[in-house]
Each structure stands twice: as structure tokens, then as C-alpha cells.
Amino acid sequence: MADDFDVEVVTRDDRSARLLVRGLTPAVANGLRRTMLSEVPTFSIDTVRFVENSSVMFDEMVGLRLGLVPLTTPLDDYEVGESATLALDVEGPATAYSGDIETSDDLVQPADENVPIIELKEGQRLEFEADAVLDTGKEHAKHQGGVAVGYRHLQRVTVVGDADEFDEEEPNILRGVIETEDGELVHTEEFDADLTNRHPGKELEIEDVPSAFVFHIESDGSLSVDELTLRAVQSLRDRADELAEKVAV
């Protein structure tokens, strides 16, 4: 395995990013993907104490929905297994949203304010206190910080000549990120994922670039993409070190 990875950011915003990483083996790439899903801890509601629930849903059903609300996670301040307290009190007619949840720690907040929990009619009321616990995705999927994390090979597209004059014009669909002949990185969405839009009437050659992977990373909002990625790498490294230490006699 190469010692140095070469990382390039293709696109990036707060919740999602595309990163090109060169110098990875497929095993490490997949290990990194799996680590982002299952080893980076996030807060999630774990127990709910219902003071009043006169809504149309059972306590357990409301509880299940609450568990899936992403909560912002200050990983520097909490250890796995520690908890924070949240509360909600909404009286109908209204819809209880995740933004109505009050928290004991300002750093632990619902990542989105507009997740509907339940619609309450006249005279219905939902009041509860809940404990959010910091845990990892391998314990329960509700603790997954990364959603839709995946990777593809970087693909190099080269023009080898003109297409035959009497060839049928068929779309040449390609998804992911391509590398052009002059080394530019272009996402296929830019030309509607159809190479004939970019190179009309040309004959093309497409090949996977060895050990170059384009990761698409999306966070549920509990962590920023940067932190999710860095924590995943750290976790992978820690566990590799631990293995090396235990194997060495």
C-alpha cells in the first residue's frame, strides 16, 4: 500500500462532497466506506419518557420516528455511551416538528428543523422527555452519520478518432467522474451523463484509472462531511494500529 494518498476535492458543500483519492487499494477504499457508515458515532434518541401522548400514534411509533431524527454531534465533548437530554411539548392543532425539540446542551440539536414528528389535531398533545445516546452505526442504523456513502473508479475518457460515418447514433451513458485527456475532472452530470453530448461523432475509449476512487459522501447533518471523513480515517488507522500491536509479539 502506498504511504501517501493524493486527495482532490471535486465538489463539496456542508452536507455532501465528492473526493478523488489516488493511491488506494479497493480493500482500503471499501474499508473507508464501511467505516464512515458504521464506526463514526452520532447522537440519536434512545429512550423516551412520555408524559402525555394523546395523538393518534402509539408511544412506540412516535419513539421510532424520534430515533431517526439526526442530531448534531459534538464529538470532542462526549464519549460513546454518554447521553444528552431532550424534551418536547406541543399541543394541537399543530404539527410537532424536530425544531420544537428543546435540548439540555446547545451543541446537541436536531440537524434539521423541519422533520415532521406527528400532526396533532384539536385537543391532542405530545409531551415527552428523551435521552439521546452517542453510539455507532454498527450498534443501530439510527446512529449512522454517513448516508449514501459510496465510491466509483475514476474513468479516463480518451478520443481515439472519428466515429464511423454510418454508425448508429446511440447514447453513450457513463456515470461518475471522468478524467479528460488534459487531466481535468468532470462530473458526468455536467453533460447529462451522455458522452455523445460531450464528444459528438467521436470514437471514445473509456478505462478505469487504477487505484483512483471517487468517493461520494453524504452526511445526515449530525456531522459535517469533513469531520465524518476525518473521524472515519482516524478510526480505521486506530484499529489498524491496534491489530498491528496485537499481532506483533
Partner: protein, 44 residues
């Protein structure tokens, strides 16, 4: 056990001997109310 009469909406206490009947209006359909204590639910 606390129940609520479905016709007159009044709270009804049942004992062993009275049978299932609202003492105020004689209606035989009673609804069981949710217990007032806090219920803890674990989410998993």
C-alpha cells in the same frame, strides 16, 4: 381502574359487584383511559 362512560363522558370507578354499567346514566359502554403515569419507551 378508571374508565370513562362513552355516553355521558363522566369518569367511572368500577368495583367487583356493580357490573359493567355507568352509575350516572346506566350506559354499558365504558372506555378505558390512558394511565396518567409517565411511560418509558426504549427506541430500537
Amino acid at each position: 381502574m378508571s374508565y370513562k362512560c362513552s355516553r355521558c363522558k363522566r369518569d367511572v370507578e368500577l368495583d367487583e359487584y356493580g357490573g359493567v354499567r355507568c352509575p350516572y346514566c346506566g350506559h354499558r359502554v365504558l372506555l378505558k383511559e390512558r394511565a396518567p403515569d409517565v411511560k418509558e419507551v426504549s427506541v430500537n
